[in-house]
């Protein structure tokens, strides 16, 4: 997610709120008004590695796969799972067996009928160690999948697993055609076949991917207006790694939708040729994390002091140009369980005096000759690391540097490419860093903080117990209470210093009609049409 292509793909996947008044007032065209035909031209930051949902977890690939493969469930506008290829399901009293009833009369793009055997085949392949699917970790709690009859399939879980339905709604859980897998074998990822609204047409490696309208498509999502085949004739994804080129292509009318970066957003905002979709409750958050194994960052009070010295609003304005929401919660604004009240009550805001007093308490005293704090002869000289290639985090680090100087800390900014940075982090050879994560499930907390933490530096059995409870509670509401409890704990322990959630922005040509968004802020391509 720190890498450009990932960010871009996620932006395409998660749109949220259009600044154009039409979106706000729900004036998108109904299925009856929509004009048919035309090809929507989109961009990808990189060539996907594979279109086999079991062969990749790249967000770019996932963005394309989502059009080809339908899933058993989707997350509705209330944030709850609802049936897509599954019409209903039951959960056993011990919450370990989920039995799905499937819809009938659906066919894969190659004519193979969709049934329980296909679902069983899909998940058995996904879970088979021989497949070596990188997505298997998301379904590791699934012990067995069995087709009970043509329209019934049973999932047996090792233990109750709360993210199960969200994970089932992702493209990794797209149902694949068993016939096509047998036909293409390892090359299935280059010849993908699903039941989705678009079918695979062609792929020029490194250049473009073309998907065509599935003329037999039936839509079962309640949040999509168009219940039949999509309005457009197809989608063309062009691989365009450079942001500047993408902007020029949009201005020249060569593409219809592009994700916007902070730098490019202003250019499209007041231009009548374009519409700009702004997702404020996006699924990302930017935070300071620490090397918990290196003093003084092993000290909760010191981490909090550093946090109080950082002006989050200045980072929102100065580094993100105002295209972000200050977020004091250790979870993205758009993820269920985010609660402004927690941030307000337990969050670490901006109070340099408090920071200074905490540092004094800890024995870090200002040396009058250097104006830098010292303790036991050690000066407060630290390094703020972040990944290179993104102006936002670089500027963010520079603001943090200036803020910390004000409270007597001398901070260097170190930029490293993301691969090197993340490889170095487990070696615990850094002080603190500015990081950004994107994830749409509340289990982001477990991914980040459950022992040993995402960079193998943090251990906390008390927090682990709370996160375990959140991950195994299949009662959505009760689960979110535990998620909130975990957030409070993370803030009280100052494990990270949350700063903001940046907005996901997408520009669309003015003739792209019917834009509206799902729970995650994803544009419904099924309802899009091109005004002639």
């Amino acid at each position: 997610m720190k890498r450009t292509w990932l960010v871009l793909a996620m932006v395409l996947m998660f749109g949220t709120l259009f600044t154009s008044p039409g979106w706000l007032s729900g004036q998108y065209a109904t299925a009856q008004e929509a004009q048919k035909g035309g090809t929507l031209r989109l961009v990808l930051g990189e060539d996907p590695d594979s279109l086999d949902p079991h062969g990749t977890i790249s967000a770019t690939a996932s963005g394309v796969q989502g059009f080809i493969y339908d899933r058993l469930v989707y997350i509705n506008l209330k944030g709850l799972p609802a049936g897509r290829l599954a019409s209903s399901w039951t959960i056993s009293p011990d919450q370990k067996v989920v039995t799905f009833k499937l819809r009938t009369g659906i066919k894969f793009h190659d004519g193979t009928p969709f049934n329980a055997k296909a679902v069983e085949f899909t998940f058995k392949r996904l879970l088979d160690p021989a497949t070596a699917s990188p997505a298997r970790a998301q379904f590791k709690e699934v012990q067995d999948v069995r087709a009970l009859d043509d329209t019934t399939v049973r999932f047996t879980l090792e233990k109750p697993f709360a993210p199960f339905f969200t994970n089932l709604s992702t493209s990794y859980a797209g149902i694949i055609s068993p016939t096509a897998v047998q036909k293409y074998g390892k090359d299935f990822g280059r010849h993908p076949v699903g039941t989705g609204p678009f079918k695979f047409d062609s792929w020029i490696a490194g250049s473009s991917i073309i998907l065509a309208r599935n003329a037999d498509y039936q839509q079962f999502r309640d949040d999509v207006l168009n219940k039949g085949p999509v309005h457009v004739a197809g989608l063309v994804f062009k691989v365009v790694p450079a942001v500047g080129t993408r902007i020029a292509a949009m201005e020249a009318g060569e593409v219809d939708l592009i994700p916007l970066t902070r730098e490019s957003a202003a250019r499209f905002l007041n231009d009548a040729r374009f519409q700009v979709v702004t997702v404020k409750n996006a699924q990302n958050f930017v935070f300071i994390e620490f090397n918990y194994k290196r003093p003084p960052f092993d000290n909760q009070k010191f981490r909090a002091a550093l946090g109080w010295a950082v002006d989050k609003k200045a980072i929102v304005e100065g580094a993100w140009g105002g295209f972000a929401t200050m977020n004091l919660n250790p979870i993205p604004v758009g993820v269920p369980g985010w609660d402004d009240k927690i941030g307000k009550q337990y969050g670490i805001g901006f109070d340099p005096r408090k920071a200074a007093s905490l540092l004094d308490e800890l024995g870090w005293k200002i040396n009058p000759s250097t104006r830098i704090r010292e303790r036991d002869g050690r000066p407060a000289k630290f390094t703020c690391s972040t990944y290179s290639g993104f102006e936002t985090v670089k500027r963010g680090c520079e603001i943090i540097q200036a803020n910390l100087k004000d409270v007597g800390m001398d901070v260097d900014v170190k930029l490293t490419d993301f691969g090197t940075l993340s490889a170095e982090m487990p070696k615990a050879q850094f002080d603190f860093d500015l990081m950004r994560w994107t994830w749409s499930e509340p289990n982001i907390l477990s991914l980040l903080f459950k022992t040993p933490g995402w960079r193998e530096l943090y251990t906390d059995s008390e927090l682990d117990a709370v996160l375990d409870r959140a991950d195994t509670n299949m009662d959505a509401k009760a689960r979110l209470d535990t998620v909130k409890q975990a957030q409070t704990m993370i803030l009280q322990k100052a494990i990270v210093i949350p700063i903001l959630t940046d907005w996901a922005m997408t520009a669309a040509q003015a003739n792209v009609q019917g834009i509206h968004l799902d729970f995650f802020g994803t544009i419904f391509f099924e309802d899009l049409w091109l005004k002639k």
Binding site: P129, A249, W437
Partner: protein
């Protein structure tokens, strides 16, 4: 001559071996595991899956074993599989190398046409405003960052005038802007070298003789002076061609021209070592071949140069 060519071609073997060894050593030194980087920012795969992928790609063997295996498959013409796409490196590169070749030759055409013309013009109008203007233009082009010039070209010809497409490598129309951008940049060095080389030749006695025997100015310049002035120009041309075939990285990215340069940049970001190795080997071989072609061209231009 034939013996010379064979000897030079045999020289390719130690070059390729040296390049393979160096790139492999770099792989051992650069931090970041390719499998881990591939899944960064995602829910990481379980250890068994990572081990399985590592095994499939042969990355679980000790580095010396990996190196020997790699050399063995390179001898058979295989350069391994991409860590990211698992496709054959040979396929990934060959698809894009065609595009790079096309762009390189088209840019070279532009560079030669513009560079030689500017150089000759400046030389025959030495110390006049034409000379000064041409050389200022050449210096301006030389000091201009390629990506910036590329974006300016896009802004003018694609966004404002809408004459040419911004990006892609689908047709000859898509070739025009990157080729002209790259060609104009390359032409600036050629113009300067052509000018200084022409100035040397124009003062030579045989040029005066050619004038004295009544040949037209045009014939003297093009048939007598230019041909003899071309040797240093061809050297520079060879170096530039090598660079162009090695992938004009920035230009390919700016115009989304899907060549080996673009592939190499992505592979470096993703630590896709088999692709990086493949690209480096292809670029090294290209350089050696181009240099050989340059040396052979010398003897065609100047019969006094004989290879034994």
């Amino acid at each position: 001559m034939a013996v010379y060519v064979v000897r030079r071609l045999l020289f390719l073997v130690p070059v390729v071996l040296g390049v393979l060894t160096l790139v492999f050593l770099m792989r051992a030194l650069v931090p970041g595991d390719p499998i881990e980087i591939m899944y960064l920012g995602q829910l990481p795969p379980d250890k068994a899956t990572v081990d399985s992928i590592r095994h499939e790609l042969g990355l679980d063997a000790p580095l010396p074993v990996q190196f020997i295996r790699y050399l063995g498959s390179a001898l058979r013409g295989e350069l391994g599989r991409s860590v990211r796409t698992r496709r054959l490196v040979r396929e990934e590169i060959s698809n894009r190398y065609k595009n790079t070749l096309l762009l390189a030759f088209a840019s070279l055409g532009v560079a030669v046409a513009v560079g030689l013309s500017m150089g000759i013009l400046a030389a025959i109008h030495r110390d006049t405003p034409i000379d000064t203007a041409t050389m200022v233009l050449a210096m301006w082009g030389l000091s201009m960052p390629a990506f910036w010039f590329g974006l300016i070209m896009i802004s003018v010809f694609s966004v404002r005038l809408r004459w040419l497409p911004v990006m892609g490598s689908d047709s000859l129309k898509h070739l025009v802007l990157p080729a002209v951008t790259l060609g104009l940049i390359a032409s600036t060095v050629l113009a300067r070298i052509t000018r200084s080389s022409m100035l040397d030749v124009l003062n030579a006695q045989y040029v005066r003789t050619a004038h004295a025997k009544g040949l037209t100015h045009r014939t003297v310049i093009l048939r007598h002076a230019l041909k003899n002035a071309l040797i240093p120009v061809v050297t520079i041309l060879g170096l530039q061609m090598g660079g162009l075939l090695g992938g004009a990285f920035i230009i390919e990215i700016v115009f989304s021209w899907h060549g080996v340069g673009e592939l190499a940049v992505q592979a470096i970001q993703q630590r896709d070592f088999p692709i990086i190795q493949g690209v480096v080997v292809v670029v090294a071989v290209t350089y050696v071949l181009i240099n050989l072609a340059v040396d052979l061209t010398y003897s065609a231009l100047d019969p006094r140069i004989v290879y034994k």
